[in-house]
């Protein structure tokens, strides 16, 4: 619909930001198509927030280039600010003020006259289900309500590009799904969304394309499907009846599938990533053979499945460690 829809919303090349010895962002190349949700996935400390802060003109890059709708984030920072909104990891509203006051403040700062700012604030509070809480200080809001007032503030003037930095971290499941619904609606109306997350299912559900970053570098990029298939044809999941048989099952599976076997936290569960070079059919055949070998060895299998790898497994394969190891109490 909009003239920019074929262009890139974000383009970075060799973006670098260092804090002392720490290269938080270390030569990042990103291309984000306009009009989509683009997921940036990585564990805590991967450099997601630093990258977003540079793109939102809050931090000056130490190297490389970044453009937002073709405008350089350093040289044309003011133009970029007119196009983007940021919802940070922590509430980007004033907690001492009420929801209404926050939105009026922003409305005024974005150039609305007083009555227009008040109307717009009331409209947004209504659309985000916050009318009842309009005159309460934001510090008394629940986590989900805070997120909503925060996103409402970000779309007060509907931006071309919306940064959502870990928008659902710390939210309960219901509030998370509310945020997901809001993101879908916002994107359907033409705003490009850059979403950072450490939740793999979130990127999988919302994003058209995903960049996986670790230690400030891009380690993989593509659609969720591409990322999954680049790692392997799929995973074989096995659940045993008797945990005592797991070492034996591990040996049989390693021999038949010629791949590393992961022992799950659950003492009866095993997972094997089936090799990517083989076709799906071969993977299914291998899996079937492995299953009959398990039966032949007298191992009782309660549950058996062959599925596409989850993004967790993708991350594990790309970084040789699980995505959640660096998870801190944020």
């Amino acid at each position: 619909m909009r003239k920019r829809s074929t262009d890139l919303a974000i383009e970075t090349s060799g973006l670098v930001k260092t804090f002392g010895d720490n290269r938080a962002v270390d030569g990042l190349d990103l291309s984000v198509p306009a009009g989509t949700v683009y997921g940036v996935l990585g564990p805590n400390g991967a450099g997601k927030t630093t990258a977003v802060r540079m793109l939102a003109t809050l931090l000056r890059p130490d190297g490389g280039e970044a453009r937002v709708f073709g405008h350089d984030v350093v040289r044309e920072a003011d133009t970029v600010r007119g196009l983007v909104s940021l919802t940070g990891q922590y509430a980007s509203v004033d907690e001492d003020m009420t929801g209404m006051e926050n939105l009026i403040l922003l409305g005024r700062l974005l150039g609305h006259a007083k009555p227009a700012a008040r109307d717009r604030a009331a409209q947004l509070l209504e659309a985000f289900g916050l009318t009842e809480a309009a005159d309460r200080q934001v510090k008394n809001y629940s986590g989900g309500m805070r997120r909503r007032i925060d996103i409402a503030a970000s779309i007060l003037n509907t931006p071309e590009l919306l940064f959502l930095d870990e928008p659902t971290t710390g939210l309960d499941p219901r509030s998370r799904s509310q945020v997901w619904d809001i993101v879908r609606i916002v994107v359907a109306h033409g705003t490009t969304v850059l979403l950072t997350t450490q939740y793999l299912d979130e990127a999988d559900r919302l994003a058209g394309r995903i960049a996986v970053i670790d230690h400030g570098r891009l380690i993989a990029e593509g659609t969720p499907g591409e990322l999954k298939s680049s790692v392997g044809a799929g995973s074989v999941h096995v659940r045993l009846r008797d945990p005592a048989q797991r070492p034996e099952a591990e040996r049989v599976l390693a021999r038949e599938l010629r791949a590393q076997v992961y022992l799950e936290a659950d003492p009866v569960a095993l997972t094997v990533r089936v090799n990517g070079e083989e076709s799906d059919r071969a993977a299914a055949e291998q899996a079937a053979r492995a299953l009959s070998e398990l039966a032949a060895s007298g191992i009782v299998v309660d549950d058996f499945s062959l599925g596409q790898p989850s993004l967790d497994e993708v991350f594990l394969a790309l970084t040789d460690r699980p995505a959640t190891t660096e998870e801190a109490a944020a």
Binding site: R108, L109, L110, A133, N140, G143, G144, N157, Q178, T191
Partner: protein, 281 residues
């Protein structure tokens, strides 16, 4: 994340039509002027006073305490009687209190920066110094309030200024104006230093000697020569002398010019440094 609120959120379901209706791509009013953005931030400062009124403690109870304490502590010894001393002390104690209150500007900046709302302000397409000017507009109110509180206490205790209402108002205006200029020093430290405590520490380190080693309490001619030399070049001395003269209805053109000039220097130098730090943060 606190979960103290009653959860109206659980009943909320984002609806495509209501939410879609508030999304208005492309519709943007023209940007606010520098003045309008600054005044809006000033309005925010006033709202914060409304929501967190305890911050007015510094501009009410503290000045009252200072005035009473120093009047009765030094009055008898220094001027023979407290009423007599009050005529000399009151403009000085007013300057001291208000100038010391300026340090809270830096603390407020620091506190805000550590919260996410500052990031939002910095991503807005507005005149860059507006958030900083907004703080200071809010602070003007605080400075004026402290001055009025001290004036009232003074009048009750027997302060009878020779300059009349016009002289008193002129003195207060000069003081509030100078404090506005001086505040830029603290906004700079607020952006520069790592914690609220260090901002507070540096401010005290500068302000205590600057306010005490001045003509607030005694005539500098009674001091040893080396101290008198320092006190005479201290901008606070010039300010106290100017305010004292205005309130007493005597002339002090040199001092007033000196105060205005040093205020301008503060704004130019520290305002520039503040904005450099603000943009580079």
């Amino acid at each position: 994340m606190s979960s103290t609120a009653t959860e109206t959120g659980t009943t909320f379901a984002p609806a495509a039509d209501t939410l879609g209706a508030v999304l208005m791509p492309g519709a943007r009013p023209p940007r606010p002027s520098a003045w309008s953005a600054s005044v809006t931030f000033g309005w925010r400062a006033m709202l914060k006073i409304k929501h967190v009124p305890d911050q007015l403690f510094d501009v009410t109870a503290f000045p009252i305490m200072m005035t009473l304490m120093f009047t009765y502590l030094f009055g008898g010894a220094l001027a023979g009687s407290t009423t007599e001393y009050l005529q000399f002390l009151l403009p000085g104690i007013m300057v001291m209190s208000v100038v010391q209150i300026t340090m809270y500007t830096g603390v407020a900046v620091k506190t805000d920066i550590e919260k996410g709302v500052f990031d939002r302000f910095r991503t807005l397409p507005i005149w860059r110094p507006a958030p900083m000017v907004g703080y200071l507009l809010g602070d003007l109110f605080r400075y004026a309030m402290a001055s009025v509180v001290i004036l009232i206490v003074g009048l009750v205790l027997g302060f009878r200024p020779g300059g009349g209402p016009v002289g008193v108002l002129a003195g207060m205006a000069l003081l509030v104006g100078f404090s506005f200029a001086l505040s830029w020093v603290w906004t700079m430290f607020g952006l520069l230093l790592r914690s609220e405590k260090s901002v507070m520490g540096i401010s005290m380190l500068v302000l205590f000697p600057l306010t005490f080693l001045s003509s607030v309490f005694v005539d500098p001619r009674t001091m040893p020569g080396w101290l008198e030399a320092f006190v005479n070049v201290n901008p606070i001395t010039q300010l106290v002398d100017a305010v004292r003269a205005l309130m007493a209805g005597t002339t002090a053109t040199g001092e007033i010019a000196w105060v205005l000039a040093s205020g301008a220097v503060f704004i130019v130098v520290f305002g520039t440094l503040t904005m450099r730090l603000y943009n580079r943060k």
